[in-house]
Structure formats: structure tokens, C-alpha cells
Amino acid sequence: MSENEHTNHIVQPGTYTAIILTLLTLTALTVAAAYVNLGPFNIVVALAIATIKATLVVLFFMHAKFVPRRTQLIIISGVFWLIILLFMTLSDYVTRVDYRGVRFPISQNFSAGLPPRA
């Protein structure tokens, strides 16, 4: 199985330990960041930290850093398709205008029935 070792990189426990410590730190950071009012950027920061954490898990715990290019391409295409789903659907929502000229989010106290007469 010398050939096997040639193609399969074995990640060492030291790396795993470093990664888990980073992940725990980032978890603390994301909780801390949530308590700071950053306005619309709270969600951005939260998602950015989550994405860093996810990337670390994918690259090291899941060995994506050491797998063939083909597999990496598949991972990337999965994420890419998720982005297509999210962004193309949101492209409808963020440009929607209801008949009174109200942009998304649509008016919240809608009640079925006839709209009021001017």
C-alpha cells in the first residue's frame, strides 16, 4: 500500500488539535460579536465567522485540502449551486414592488379583503 500512502495524506493529531481550538475560539467570538450592535452587519459577521469555521472543518477535518482536484471541484460546485438557489430567488424578492409601491419586505399588516379606497 505504498501507493496508497502516496495519494492519501494523513493529517496529524497536532493539526486536528489546532483546528478544534481555533473552532472553539471562533465560537466564543461569534457569541461575543452578537452582543455588540453592529446594525445590519451583525448577520454579516455571524455568517463570515460561520463560513471560516465551516471552511476549516472542510479543509482539515474532512481532508478537502488533500483530496484530488476533482473532489474539490464537486465541493465548490455544491456551494455554487446553493448560491444560485439563494441569490436568484432573492433577486425576485428584493426587486418586488407591490401595487402601492411598497418594496420588499411586503407590508406586514395585510388582511385579506379589498384594499381601502382613497
Binding site: 436568484m88 433577486s91 425576485d92 418586488r96 385579506a112
Partner: protein, 560 residues
């Protein structure tokens, strides 16, 4: 068969996958991709005839403006169950799970698919899903339309929505596992010398199909899962009464269900891409473009879904973007049609039954594909959306395209699957009946649609009657056309003339092994040294073009 070049008297091989083992257990627990393909064949045929029965009831009912035999509720159940059965239980599994399952390992020179047990599992999942759906038909039927639009399906319908949705949800996983299996098989199981650009177009099409299956199907699964939970537990994403948005359901639904159309048509295109070079005895024109067009359809096909929603009140900007992309996705299909036509030039064309289906496919697919332009065009869609124009359009694609491809493939590979030949002349007549019946059924519906007859109407204004009568007449011809192959193919499987390993002859790897093939597909692992559809360097085919000095060992190259 008209041009059998090999020895005149053929016998079946002594051992093959059909007689390897006997007994019901040997079939229900088989991991042989060829037997699983036959399990699928039996089950999709069963569902096809159930769906066909519903279709006949619909057409009979619509003979008169006030409806001939069904109540409103029954009619609604008929068209819903027709759609659900045909789409989820016939069209989506038909070519991939039957022909693809049987042929992909043979075509790439593998002993089996990458995950044989997963393959069997996917059939069981399909059957379980099918049972739930059949149960819903007995337990009150389903009247939501195959689109399950909310809030009708989640709040207002009083039919058996939950089991039907669950059935479709479950069947989705069968589709995912099949796609996964194909992708991995094509990547890792190819025989020596079988480079990517020596793969038959059939394999390329199934690769593209599998991409759609694995990326799209999970989304419909979660969507229907949420809809089912909404109906049963009162979740509210799609319920306007709770502030949810029914249009979100449509986005999620069509994110899968539009690409699903490509799950149906791409494999059929793959079949036709095999038939035309074989019966024109000529390399396919523009191999690289035909292969790339499959992938382009799969990718761009994911970017057009909201063209089903131009008149739902989605934003004008989104409608513009989706319409533009819709016109772009038409191009790869056009490329394929042009290349098929070009392949005919300079060929040596025979008119065996599979080739008749291929011609039929091209003709009907042109109509189906081009009418898609009307629907993708925003200015026309606002008139013809949700009318019979749409009904006619997608039947031209799905029945005229996918089913013609499926039947063409069945006839082409039937000698490989069973080792026996079907009666040629009956088959040619059946193909003709299908073509005529199909056009008579669905062409009048284009006119009905432009006149403004909405779909899913159990009664209609009297001025529409004349076209409806024509359509019903065509449907009865079509029904005969479908029964015929069913009968003579079954007959041929047992009593047909023995076909021999390569009756046409064709160039693919699947024809280099006995018919029917042995369980392990090839006695020795084949080594591929020829380019796809090359009739000129293949003396083993026994044709004039086969250079006597033996196959030229062409180097594997990267592009066409």
C-alpha cells in the same frame, strides 16, 4: 436486423445474466445492474399504464363541452394523478433507471455500477414511494395538480395530499441515488482506454442528467417535506394566512421541476445520439459540441426556473432575467438538433425501427422545443401561460421527446437486453401509429391554447369543442400505439429470433459482449482503442469500411 453482417445462424450464449440464477429471491435481492434495470422496466411500465389510464379518462371526458363521464372532483383527481404518475414514476426514472442502469456499466466497460447495493436500494425506495402514491389514489385520490401549489395543497384541498407528497418525497431519494451512482461510475469505473472523449454521447447525457438529479432533487424533497409538515403540523412558510408566501413554494418547486424536464429529455437526447450514428453508419457530427451541449443544458437549465412564474406577480426584473436565460438555454438544444441533422449527410442511412423513432423524436422535439420559445417570450407568455398551449408544449417535449426516445432506445437495445429480435414490420407500423396519433392528440391543443382555453378545465365553452374532439380521437390512436410495442416486445423477449451480439451493427462497447451479456458484463476487461462511432477502423463489425489491417490504435486525445 436488415443488415446483419455476422453469421446467419445465431444462438444465445450458454450463460448470461438472465439464466445465471433462478427464483424470485435471485431477482429481488440482485445487485446486478442489468437485473435491477429489468425490475425498473417492469415497475415503470406498470406506472405508465396507470398514468395512461388516467389520460384516457381525461380525453374521453373532454369530448363534450359539459364533460362526458366524470364529476368535477373526479376529473381533477384524474389529471393530478396522471401528472404525478407520469412525471415522478414514469418519465424521470424511465430512461435513466432502465436503459441507463442497464447500459452505463456496459458502455464504460465496467463490471457493474460503482455501488450495486445502493442501486438495488434505489429501486426499493422507488417502490416504497410508489406504494405511498398508489395508496393516496385509493384513499381519496389527489386533486392538487402535480404542482402541489400552496395554499391549495396545504390548506384547502380535502384529498389525500400527505401520502402522495410523501410518496414523491421518498421517490426523490431513489432518483438522487441513481444519479450519484452514475456520476461516480463514470468517474472511477471506466475501462482502460475509455477516455472522457471516447464516452458515448449516451453516457455524457446521463452524466448531465445525474448532475441535475443530485443538485435539484434534494430541493424538491425539502420543499415537499415542508409542504407536508405544513399540512400535518401547521408550519407556515407557504401559508399566506400566517404571513408565509405561496410564491416561495413555486420558486422552490420549479428550482427542481424545471430542471426535471431535462432529467426527462437529456437521456432521450442521449438515446437519439446513439441511434443516428448507428443507423447512418457515420461518426456523430461535432461530438464535442453534442457532449458539451448536454452539460450546458444541465447547467443553464438550473437558471431558468422562474419562467413558470411570469404571471404570478414576481418582480418584473426577475422575470426579465429569467426570460433572457430561457432563450439562452434553447441554444444547446438547437445545437444538438443541427448536429444530428448534419450527421445524416454523407451517411448510409437505414430505416430500421429505432431510426424511425429517432426521426420521430427530431420532428416532435423541434415542435416542442420551438414552442418553448413562445412560452419563454414574456410578451406571449402573458397570453398563453396556463392554457392548453403549455399542455401541448410539454407533451411534445415529454411524450414526443422523452417517450419517443425511450421507445427508440428500447427497440435498439432490446436485442442486447433479451438476446432476441422483435418483429420488424409490426414495430415500424407501431412507430408510425404513435407518430400520427401523437400529433393528432396534441397539435390541436396548441390552437386551443392560443384561443384561450385554460388547462385543468373539466368543462369548457362550446367553441372549443372541435379541437377537443380531434385531440380525443388522436389519443385513442396513441393508446393503440403504446399497447403494440408492449405486446410484441414481450413476445419477442421469449420467442423472437436470436439476435446475436451485434445485430445492427453498432460501435459501442455494449455490443462487444454477448447478447444477453454475462453477469459480469465482459469475460475479460475490454480495452478501448477506437474513437466513438468510428465505423472505419472496426473490422470486427464486418462492414466495408473496416480497414483490413485491424483497428488503428488511435491516441487518446483531449478534444474533438
Amino acid at each position: 436486423m436488415s443488415t446483419t453482417a455476422t453469421a446467419p445462424v445465431q444462438t444465445l450464449p450458454e450463460h448470461h445474466y438472465l439464466n445465471a440464477t433462478y427464483g424470485i429471491r435471485s431477482w429481488l435481492l440482485t445487485t446486478d445492474h442489468k437485473r435491477i434495470a429489468l425490475l425498473y422496466l417492469a415497475s415503470v411500465t406498470f406506472f405508465f399504464f396507470i398514468g395512461g389510464f388516467f389520460a384516457m379518462m381525461i380525453r374521453l371526458h373532454l369530448m363534450t363541452p359539459n364533460g362526458l363521464l366524470l364529476s368535477a372532483d373526479t376529473y381533477n383527481r384524474m389529471f393530478t394523478m396522471h401528472g404525478v404518475t407520469m412525471i415522478f414514476f414514469f418519465l424521470i426514472p424511465s430512461i435513466p433507471a432502465v436503459l441507463g442502469n442497464f447500459l452505463i456499466p456496459l458502455m464504460v466497460g465496467a463490471k457493474d455500477l460503482a455501488f450495486p447495493r445502493v442501486n438495488l436500494l434505489s429501486w426499493y425506495i422507488y417502490i416504497i414511494g410508489g406504494c405511498f402514491t398508489l395508496y393516496s389514489m385509493i384513499a381519496g385520490g389527489l386533486d392538487t395538480g402535480w404542482t402541489f401549489y400552496t395554499p391549495f395543497s396545504t390548506v384547502y384541498s380535502n384529498s389525500a395530499v400527505a401520502p402522495a407528497v410523501l410518496g414523491v418525497f421518498i421517490t426523490g431519494f431513489s432518483s438522487i441515488l441513481t444519479g450519484l451512482n452514475f456520476l461516480v461510475t463514470v468517474h472511477t469505473m471506466r475501462a482502460p482506454g475509455m477516455t472522457w472523449f471516447r464516452l458515448p454521447i449516451f453516457v455524457w447525457s446521463h452524466y448531465a442528467t445525474s448532475v441535475v438529479m443530485i443538485l435539484g432533487t434534494p430541493v424538491i424533497a425539502i420543499t415537499l417535506g415542508l409542504a407536508a409538515m405544513e399540512r400535518v403540523f401547521g408550519l407556515g412558510f407557504f401559508n399566506p394566512a400566517m404571513g408565509g408566501d405561496p410564491i416561495l413554494f413555486q420558486h422552490l418547486f420549479w428550482f427542481y421541476s424545471h430542471p426535471a424536464v431535462y432529467i426527462m429529455i437529456l437521456p432521450a437526447m442521449g438515446v437519439v445520439s446513439e441511434l443516428i450514428p448507428t443507423f447512418a453508419r457515420k461518426q456523430i457530427f461535432g461530438y464535442g459540441f453534442v457532449a458539451a451541449a448536454s452539460l450546458a443544458i444541465a447547467v443553464i437549465g438550473f437558471l431558468v426556473w422562474a419562467h413558470h412564474m411570469f404571471v404570478t406577480g414576481q418582480s418584473t426584473y426577475a422575470a426579465l432575467a429569467f426570460s433572457l436565460l430561457t432563450f439562452v438555454v434553447a441554444i444547446p438544444s438547437a445545437i444538438k438538433v443541427f448536429n444530428w441533422t448534419a450527421t445524416l449527410f454523407g451517411g448510409s442511412i437505414s430505416f430500421d425501427t429505432p431510426m424511425l423513432y429517432a426521426f420521430g423524436f427530431i420532428g416532435l422535439f423541434i415542435v416542442g422545443g420551438l414552442t418553448g420559445l413562445f412560452l419563454g417570450c414574456l410578451g406571449v407568455d402573458m397570453h398563453v401561460h396556463d392554457t392548453y398551449f403549455v399542455v401541448a408544449h410539454f407533451h411534445y417535449i415529454m411524450v414526443g421527446g422523452a417517450v419517443m426516445g425511450y421507445l427508440g432506445g428500447m427497440h435498439f437495445w432490446w436485442p442486447k437486453i433479451t438476446g432476441r429480435m422483435y418483429p420488424e414490420w409490426i414495430a415500424r407500423i407501431a412507430a408510425l401509429i404513435l407518430f400520427v396519433g401523437f400529433n393528432l392528440t396534441f397539435f390541436p391543443q396548441f390552437v386551443l391554447g392560443y384561443l384561450g382555453m385554460p388547462r385543468r378545465y373539466h368543462v369548457y365553452p362550446p367553441e372549443f369543442q372541435v379541437y377537443n374532439v380531434m385531440s380525443t380521437a388522436g389519443a385513442s390512436i396513441l393508446a393503440v400505439g403504446y399497447l403494440l410495442p408492449m405486446i410484441y416486445l414481450t413476445w419477442a423477449a421469449f420467442y423472437g429470433k436470436v439476435a446475436g451480439p451485434n445485430p445492427w451493427p453498432a460501435t459501442g462497447l455494449e455490443w462487444r459482449t454477448p447478447s444477453p451479456p454475462p453477469t459480469e458484463n465482459f469475460e475479460v476487461t475490454p480495452v478501448v482503442t477506437w474513437e466513438p462511432y468510428d465505423f472505419h477502423h472496426r473490422p470486427d463489425l464486418g462492414l466495408e469500411g473496416g480497414a483490413p489491417q485491424g483497428p488503428a490504435v488511435a491516441p487518446a486525445h483531449g478534444d474533438d
